[in-house]
């Protein structure tokens, strides 16, 4: 065993260093300390702990992966070692705080907290378990070692147990993390009682956590999911077909009643997700199909919103007193017109030149909306206030639930149009243009027309989303139309899978929905968002739901041909 360890010592060192870096990073940016206030389960396990152990657990997993061949015992020892070693960075951190913060004079030049705001006595307290310099650091060392072993166990336990308890852990942590949202849903479904029992002050009741753990474990251990899917596969064709219809009907029903299950806030989140789905579908036409990298997509969103605002507001800026439904087509029309107008000058530009110019357009529009110059038309910095909410047979749609239906309708419309166009001549034109603009033109495709169609149809959906946004918000300000919206829309279609329609929905749920649910993490929300983007792209560069190609030649016999492929030499 000693020998195995010696052989692998370099790896252990390397992973320990990596784990140490992760751990110190999380402490130094203040995540551990801040989230130590936020309990996940009971009052003992906080989110801070969960972040703190990310490093050593990860190290354990890496060790288990790298030493696959070795005997189990030595892997555990190696995991312990690596985990414990990764605590060295934090021990150093503790020493630094002790000397340069706790014992230092706040006016001294080297008083480190002047520079590193998270180098606080509280962090020290947390990391040393309140046990002081010596004992605390020893505890930390041992604790990290154990966490390293825990990481090893993720890969080394017998398969069934492993899957069971990893799943359980994920579920318990997720419920603890999203406690507010889970509690909200429970409240909507069962009244206030249940939520109060399971959660107290956002933290999960330990008993509830254990029950949840056990239930999920049972599910995974007995392989119930697999059993169900096996059964499904064994069913006769006809029954499967019926089952599918049933599932689809259930899904539609689910989407329909969803806002009433989840309450006010999650409905608002759903509304925003739906809005981004609509925009994503539009942008997907421009970027995913036509291959035109547009970083200024927010401009059309702004046009939609401003048109809605100007046409319907009862304030001083109102130009007419149309209602929401009458203004909606105008908003889309204005979007289309501007899509054409802005599309025009960039017709001859390619790739990254297009990107920066469209980004510029987005900014120009925002700045103009903000300007004193155009304030008489768009309100300038003061924005447009008092935009009435739409009415539906006399009922004011002033709740997120009501508006949710509106965006779902809009998104379905966008998806419908997108699918129909994708499978038509125009869709092929776009894709050909995306693959090779010159050759596409040499196929007789009029690039100008094709590009402008992409721009304007994309713009129409964005404008539609903008119009609904304005009506939901009731007030619009130029600051709302910043580049972040373009970036979000672009990121979600790429994360979902460029060109893929289900991908847009998945992307929107991950990149828009998740951050909304994690609002309470405020200052670290965008940090996590950024990391999420990087990790997701590295894990799945083609997106979560890559675009699938249709079979056309052999329409009925799918997958009968073996994959014909050969070298790409030449």
């Amino acid at each position: 065993m000693i020998k195995t360890l010696q052989e692998n010592f370099q790896k252990i060192q390397k992973f320990a260093l990596l784990g140490g870096i992760v751990a110190i990073y999380l402490v130094a940016v203040g995540m551990v300390e801040t989230f130590a206030q936020r309990n996940l389960i009971g009052t003992s396990l906080s989110l801070g702990h969960a972040f703190l152990v990310l490093g050593p657990i990860g190290v354990g997993i890496l060790i288990a992966q790298a030493m696959k061949e070795s005997e189990t015992k030595s892997i555990y020892v190696a995991g312990f070692l690596a985990g414990a070693l990764s605590s060295v960075s934090l021990i150093l951190f503790n020493i630094v705080i002790q000397i340069f913060v706790i014992q230092a004079d706040p006016d001294a030049v080297f008083y480190l907290r002047n520079m590193f705001v998270s180098f606080t006595p509280t962090a020290f307290e947390f990391l040393t378990f309140g046990q002081g310099m010596v004992l605390g650091n020893i505890l930390l060392f041992l604790f990290f070692g154990l966490m390293g072993m825990l990481g090893v166990s993720f890969l080394r336990f017998p398969d069934k147990i492993r899957r069971g308890w990893i799943n359980s852990l994920i579920w318990v942590l997720a419920v603890g993390l999203f406690s507010e949202n889970v509690a909200q849903i429970l409240r909507e479904l069962f009244g206030p009682g249940l939520g109060k029992i399971i959660f107290s002050n956002k933290s999960m009741n330990p008993v509830a956590a254990i029950i949840l753990f056990a239930v999920v474990f049972a599910f995974s251990y007995f392989g119930l999911k697999k059993e169900a899917s096996d059964k499904w596969a064994a069913m006769p064709e006809e029954k499967q077909k019926k089952g599918r219809v049933f599932i689809i009907i259930m899904a539609i029903l689910f989407v329909a009643i969803l806002p009433w299950l989840v309450g006010l806030f999650l409905s608002q989140a759903l509304f925003i997700i739906g809005m981004y789905v609509m925009m994503g579908l539009g942008l997907n036409i421009v970027v995913g199909y036509a291959g035109l990298l547009d970083l200024g997509y927010v401009a059309f969103f702004a046009f939609g919103a401003y048109t809605m605002g100007i046409l319907t507001t009862t304030g001083a800026l109102g130009r007419s007193d149309l209602n929401f439904w009458m203004a909606l087509p105008f908003a889309m029309l204005i979007g289309v017109l501007w899509g054409l107008l802005l599309g025009f000058p960039v017709l001859r530009m390619r790739g990254d030149y297009l990107a920066i110019v469209t980004l510029g357009f987005g900014e120009i529009i925002r700045i103009l909306a903000l300007s004193n110059w155009l304030a008489p038309f768009g309100g300038g910095a003061q924005g447009i206030l008092h935009i009435p909410q739409p009415e539906f047979f006399g009922l004011s749609m002033n709740s997120p639930q009501a508006m949710y239906y509106l965006v779902v309708l809009g998104a379905v419309l966008a998806a419908f149009v997108t699918i129909r166009l994708r499978d038509s001549r125009l869709g092929r034109q776009w894709m050909a243009m995306r693959e090779d603009e010159d050759v596409a033109e040499a196929m007789g495709i009029n690039l100008i027309q094709t590009k402008l169609l992409a721009f304007s149809i994309g713009a129409a959906f964005s404008a539609l989303a903008g119009a609904i946004f304005a009506a939901r918000l009731g007030n619009i300000f130029p600051h709302s139309f910043n580049i972040l919206i373009s970036i979000n829309a672009l990121a979600l279609i790429i994360v979902g899978g460029l060109g893929s329609i289900p991908g847009v929905v998945v992307g929107a749920i991950i990149l828009i929905g998740l951050p909304e649910m994690l609002r309470e993490f405020a200052e670290y929300r965008l940090l996590m968002y950024g990391m999420l983007l990087i990790i997701m792209m590295i894990v799945k560069p083609d997106g979560f739901m890559p675009e699938a190609r249709r079979s056309q030649e052999l329409r009925d016999e799918k997958d009968t041909l073996p994959k014909q492929a050969a070298g790409t030499e030449g």
Partner: protein, 420 residues
């Protein structure tokens, strides 16, 4: 469905039912409040929420307010009427959509008593509806848009603010410039935020009313760093006073770069509360000597104590100028809770939501960090009836920065208050 699957479902259902059945018994207290009551069980905390701008370029505003709220809670040792106080928060950003989403989040949690926020008026404008219809109270530390408290405009019941509106501050600044400095021409710069735009408009209007002339009404953008062009435009007319009610760092740039521009030698610089922070003279440099700032006149021992607590808790000084309002706002809510809560024998609290609003609306002569506060309705004549405006305007002043401030003395002396 397999038998095992069924068994698991059945177990789940049973657990669920048991848990529901064991829920708390109905309280003996009978709620008569018009918009309902909030019950806090003996072991439950009193739940406050904040809606501030925590991320993005204006995060310093949120940090400023959030710290003050925490200090206010610390001052009560984290307890009220024997219950813990919990503070949870939402990032509302400095935007309407952020405000609305944060508001729906807050509104969907029935345990929340009241909200402190938002930082930006645009966020409040979009949040006010949701917050109000959820029966909550919301008190802001830095919403200065007048419309927010004017009946018939944006105002909705349950909304309060501690800071003074632009109408006060803009007018005070204009009067000071015209009467005290003897200025007859002025230029203004705003940064595209609804706040600065409004404030400079009020200032300019008052200045013209007094008989002065506005030579140039300019603007920059948040994020601009080079102010030489706008300063050159200002310099072309050489006005007596340049009023720029904007924030850091744009305000820093204007002050620092003003000395490079020929033609500004005789122009007096005047900023507003956005720059009223102790880091400002240090950031803006020597040119800040001799300039004026309009803003809340927050002085006194209590404030000194507050700053000491801040330094102990967070290190350094608050990053912006609205912390004192956030502190007062928190206390107003908590005091109102103390005043209206009905305490059962077992320690359960019953807080009538309308009662809470009534209590806050009737608050007067409250001795806050920011001076005497009065949240009662006021009649502003042409402007309209205002509700929930706690600031009296008396706590406004004009400060002059000198070499002492540059050397670290803070706060600067107030050389003019409207009463004088």
């Amino acid at each position: 469905m397999s038998k095992r699957l069924f068994a698991v479902f059945a177990a789940l259902m049973i657990v669920g039912l048991i848990l529901t059945a064991c829920g708390p018994k109905a309280p003996a207290f009978e709620c008569t409040d018009a918009i309902g009551c909030l019950d806090v069980a003996p072991d439950e905390p009193v739940h406050l929420a904040y809606m501030l701008t925590i991320s993005g370029a204006t995060a310093f505003l949120g940090e400023d307010s959030k710290g003050a709220i925490e200090i206010a809670i610390d001052d009560r040792d984290g307890k009220i009427l024997g219950h813990d106080i919990v503070l949870t928060g939402e990032d509302s950003g400095c935007s309407a959509e952020g405000g609305q989403t944060a508001a729906t989040k807050v509104a969907s949690d029935p345990t929340i008593v009241g909200v402190i926020g938002t930082n930006c008026s645009s966020a409040a404008t979009a949040a006010i509806d949701t917050i109000s219809s959820a029966g909550l109270v919301m008190i802001s530390s830095s919403n200065t848009a007048p419309a927010l408290t004017i009946e018939g405009q944006t105002w909705k019941p349950g909304y309060y603010r501690v800071c003074h509106t632009d109408l006060f501050q803009g007018a005070v600044a204009a009067e000071f410039a015209y009467n005290e400095l003897g200025a007859r021409t002025t230029a203004t710069i705003h940064d595209g935020s609804p706040y600065a735009d409004q404030l400079q408009a009020v200032y300019a209007k008052r200045f013209i009313e007094l008989g002065g002339e506005v030579t140039f009404a300019g603007a920059v953008n948040i994020g601009d760093t080079d102010m030489r062009t706008v300063l050159t435009t200002v310099a072309a007319d050489g006005p007596d006073v340049l009023y720029f009610p904007i924030f850091e760092p744009e305000g820093d740039f204007i002050v620092a770069q003003s000395s490079e521009i020929a033609g500004l030698e005789n122009t007096t610089l005047m900023g507003a509360d956005g720059l009223l922070a102790d880091s400002f003279p240090e950031n803006a440099g020597p040119n800040s000597v001799g300039m004026y700032l309009s803003g809340p006149y927050v002085v006194g021992e209590a404030y000194e104590a507050f700053l000491a607590k801040w330094d102990a808790k967070f290190g350094g000084v608050p990053p912006s100028g609205f912390h004192a309002f956030a502190y007062d706002g928190t206390n107003i809510i908590l005091d109102a809770v103390e005043a209206v809560a009905v305490v059962d024998e077992d320690g359960t609290l019953h807080i009538g939501r309308q009662a809470l609003r009534d209590s806050m609306s009737s608050l007067s002569n409250y001795d806050g960090l920011t001076g005497a506060l009065d949240c009662t309705d006021k009649d502003f004549g042409v402007v309209g009836i205002s509700h929930g405006d706690c600031a009296t305007g008396g706590a406004l002043g004009i400060f002059e920065l000198g070499q002492a401030e540059l050397d670290g003395n803070w706060p600067p002396p107030a050389i003019y208050t409207p009463g004088e």
